[in-house]
Symmetry: C2
Subunit: 496 residues, 2 copies
Amino acid sequence: MIKGSVGTVTTHYYHHSSPLVLESGDTLPSLTIAYETYGKLNRDRNNAILICHALSGDAHIAGFLEGEDKPGWWDAIVGPGKAFDTDRYFIICSNVIGGCKGSTGPSSTNPATGKPYGAKFPVITIQDMVHAQKLLIDNLTIPQLYAVAGGSMGGMQALQWTVSYPDMMKKAIVIAATGYSTPQQIAFNEVGRKAIISDPEWNGGNYYDTKSYDAPGPVKGLALARMVGHITYLSDESMHAKFGRSLQSKDRIGFDFSTDFAVESYLHHQGDTFTQRFDANSYLYITKAIDYFDLTKDGSLVKGLSEVKAGFLVISVSSDWLYPPYQSQEIVSALTANEREVRYSEIRSNYGHDGFLLEAGQVNYLIAQFLSRTVVSDVMIRDVPTIEEGATTAVTARRMINLEVNHLPVLSGDGHLVGIVTSWDIAKAVAKNFLWLDEIMSKNVHTTTPDEPIEAAAKKMEEHSISALPVVDADQRLIGLITSDAISILVGRGNA
Amino acid sequence: MIKGSVGTVTTHYYHHSSPLVLESGDTLPSLTIAYETYGKLNRDRNNAILICHALSGDAHIAGFLEGEDKPGWWDAIVGPGKAFDTDRYFIICSNVIGGCKGSTGPSSTNPATGKPYGAKFPVITIQDMVHAQKLLIDNLTIPQLYAVAGGSMGGMQALQWTVSYPDMMKKAIVIAATGYSTPQQIAFNEVGRKAIISDPEWNGGNYYDTKSYDAPGPVKGLALARMVGHITYLSDESMHAKFGRSLQSKDRIGFDFSTDFAVESYLHHQGDTFTQRFDANSYLYITKAIDYFDLTKDGSLVKGLSEVKAGFLVISVSSDWLYPPYQSQEIVSALTANEREVRYSEIRSNYGHDGFLLEAGQVNYLIAQFLSRTVVSDVMIRDVPTIEEGATTAVTARRMINLEVNHLPVLSGDGHLVGIVTSWDIAKAVAKNFLWLDEIMSKNVHTTTPDEPIEAAAKKMEEHSISALPVVDADQRLIGLITSDAISILVGRGNA
């Protein structure tokens, strides 16, 4: 399997002109959602995976935007042959509302005033972000997502999806996240917000029109917020490994208040560059949404997650002290208490919270393992055209052509599978002048069951050089069909 | 043992009018050190304990200042019957230089200009703080401290003392500290400094003259710095226990940027009140001193601590993530590698770094245990006046009076202890007209050894109703004397 890049990509914009009622009761009169997609949506529209981004992320998750040489933020695990395999899945990533990367947020124009919303933008929640994403998914006419996934705040969104729309996905992947924000997380967020609001340049959120070289907006406050945030994304160990007590461009400590240590210089750089790519008001709104995130119900996460239906993969990072493993374990416990299917892994890593982005090897492996645990029922066609035994070759051929199918399972009068006929068999009939279906159909039919792993079914087809397998129940009644076309997208094996 | 308060106390000021050369090479032309003392310095001046304070601490460690109803910052373990037992020890605590609680710092008047130093104050280090404390200890004419102790930055100072002045203390107590500041610690400090310096009211450090209701100095920046700091002093668990997701004075989240959660309100309060009691420039200078703290030598803490002589107690707090237990363990390992006496305890606590202040029960117990492991050699008098056997009663009496002692061990010609004579025996001689020492001295002499715990020696004296014990080596040669006077101060038993 060659791991590749999705190549050059484009950000799309979905304009939704109807109002979105928010959790607060306020209304967003209209909204735009920036999004990117990679891979192809299959005919059954059931191979779509929505990936949700973290606090400062955006829709650009993989590949390269025109003219840029830095790939998307999770390029390491999204692409051909990677865990989020664009040869198999149709990957969607959209920018959250409240953000500043193309979706409607505080820096967007308020249609009521013609000026940027600023602090007049309504407070949004993780649930609101998810509702907005649902509008996009509906617009893409995807009836059900194959999976929803995300790390950090993206993991919160994935979890919120399974609660808000329990029938909308088969699987959910929640990484380095939590079922509710803790006081320590709220505290760090509040420091960041306070830094921005304390900056005189914030000016009550109205700085868009006045931004200039002299008054560049609340960049000092935003840089500070990012510096604090950045410390929480790293671990004590990783900072040791990366910086130790190394000095920055000097041989000895300076005995002044200029930058002494490399770690200081790094933080300054992180803070400064962040102000060039992020909006201070968006930082306020998104951190507030994170603070509000709480899926417990009557204080119980078990109750809060009682209606979810997806199969789960929950991943934590051993050295993550911002969203520590115990918070992932609480999600796992709540799902288990609700008898939901859940797989849990703690990534061994010294990287801290950032491990979910940096430990691409482990994350790739775990997600690929989880997603490829696809079983036949996940991808089989349920409304299978069939033909009754005793038909003529001509009737059979006409049925195939009309329905544009290449295989027709042959059923007995009482619904049992008795054979299968293909266009190849029709060709045989023409060559040999057979008039009856019974003379050309394969009677020794290979079948599969709904619970069989997709890899096993694929292998069976390959071994027997056949391009479809009827799916039967325990009584040998036909309940579906799985084709190499559908599998080829999932398994990435071409015309197996 | 009744645990009590030291009562009403007063802060003293030591003015040192000579220059102090700093580690940077700069000079502080003169300095003032604010300090408090409790308990009594004994006659041998060997029961003094210096306690060093943390970042925002001061000299007021115990008891009550006139007109205040809040006790000193470590009142829970300093006082009669407490671990730092003021009935036994002479406790000293001084404000660090660079601070703003009475000792010379950036808010002090620069003698060269007659204005506050501000940012012209020289950058100081933990070693400079310790050098300044040494001037105070010298001024108090204390030849050797019984112990030096401290938590957090106070622990760093205690450790620095053992390196800078290895002969100046018998014992050292280092709590929740480290042998060198790590990049994570530096990072949090730098965020705090950046918050202050980014505040326009900081004005390059010159805000003392302009402080007013309208321009209150860099209080926003200082409050932010304190908020960040405060998060690092607590633990995730303790914040859970203290705040959970409780709302502040409201029934539901506000969907706005006012204070929603109790934890936010708490942090705001911590930040705001801090600005009323602390100077922003001092925060810059002291955090810089912490960043610079590094006792490793050629990258090795073993080398850095190779010359220390004190017996150590090292304490960490299990949930402290700012100065995690592993950093205390590194100190212990380095001391052990240098074959120094060291006892290590990890306090089981959910309080985080603040546990060293809040877990008074455990800290009291560990410190009391450690300090009371005093052995006879710690408090014995070494230059003991003696008298040779064969002397007359009159000569013996004159020797006692001249030397102002109440006991004279009697030695044989070859230095062996053969008896002891007291003023009581002289009285007996007068009453009964005995002329020779041999007739009145006690020959069945109770003795002790240098290694005997002080409690055992005290018990022996009590049992036999005697007020002094000769200390002998394995050959019964006299090497010292221990008196109930000396012990009474240490053990707090009055005239045992």
